[in-house]
């Protein structure tokens, strides 16, 4: 490797590290009408990702009205959290499904 290549590689690596330090993706799986884990913690700017393994459509609907994410069957949907606070959410189609996102500053 030439010094220039090493330098480029280092820059690329740094770039990756700084990006991942800035914003993380937190995954919630929906399996058999259950949000797993039921509670996740995210920082402002992080992405919460719902992976729906069911044959049914679900929603992640914030009880405070801040957001409403529809997750189609066998699909993934994402949300970037913008405000700190504890947000309880449920599925509009199956209100017996409940979860919580704790957003830290």
């Amino acid at each position: 490797m030439t010094p220039r290549r090493i330098c480029l590689a280092a820059v690329a690596l740094f770039g990756l590290i700084s990006v991942s330090a800035q914003a993380a993706t937190i995954q919630v799986t929906i399996d058999n009408l259950v949000f797993v884990p039921a509670e996740v913690t995210a920082k402002v700017g992080d992405t919460v990702e719902w992976v729906n393994k069911d044959i049914l459509a679900h929603t992640a609907t914030a009880m405070n009205g801040d957001w409403n994410v529809v997750i189609a069957p066998k699909q993934t949907a994402r949300l970037v959290v913008k405000k700190p606070g504890n947000v309880d959410y449920f599925c509009k189609y199956h209100p017996n499904m409940k979860g919580r996102v704790v957003v830290t500053p």
Partner: protein, 174 residues
């Protein structure tokens, strides 16, 4: 009066379920598959009627949700019975559910506007409760095949979710 009557019919259905659970006449897997499929189809038919008659946005959205969910579940149920080489078998419980739903549809067909919306949603609450109880007390405990049992357990969670959803819509109509 009509609400009372459907509650009475629901009670009779529950009793039928209890009798099944105690006696030797426990439903077989082919019968259970037929009952579960029929319960979904009947809710789809009720929803199609609501989509035709209702003008209320929330009621129509609820009805669309019922069509979508029960269609998806019944598709999976059909795939399962095919895989298990089970032929769903008609039975007294399926027949009584169908008869009751036919009567309800005829009754709702005479209504319009708010009266229809209220009657449809109230019946959805009662209907889902009846099916929940049948699943819990009879169908799930009687199922022999593990995959059928697991599908019924998922079905129970869906029906319970729909019941809460229907209750929410009912409270908004008041």
């Amino acid at each position: 009066m009509l609400v009372r009557l459907s509650a009475a019919i629901a009670a009779i259905c529950l009793l039928t379920g209890a009798a099944y659970a105690q006696g030797a006449a426990k439903p077989t897997d082919p019968q259970i598959a037929h009952i579960a499929y029929t319960a979904g189809q009947l809710d789809i038919e009720a929803a199609k009627q609501a989509l035709k008659i209702s003008k209320n946005k929330e009621v129509k959205a609820f009805a669309s949700d019922m069509v979508r969910d029960h269609t998806a579940v019944n598709k999976q149920a059909l795939a399962l019975v095919k895989k298990l080489k089970v032929t769903p078998e008609d039975n007294d419980t399926s027949r009584s559910l169908t008869k009751q739903a036919d009567a309800k549809r005829a009754e709702l067909n005479k209504l319009k506007g708010r009266a229809f919306d209220k009657a449809y949603v109230d019946n959805e609450v009662a209907y889902h409760k009846t099916v929940d109880s049948a699943l819990e007390s009879t169908l799930i405990p009687s199922a022999n095949n593990a995959e059928l049992k697991s599908l019924l357990q998922t079905g129970l969670k869906i029906f319970q979710g729909h019941e809460q959803h229907a209750e929410h819509v009912a409270s908004e109509l008041k």
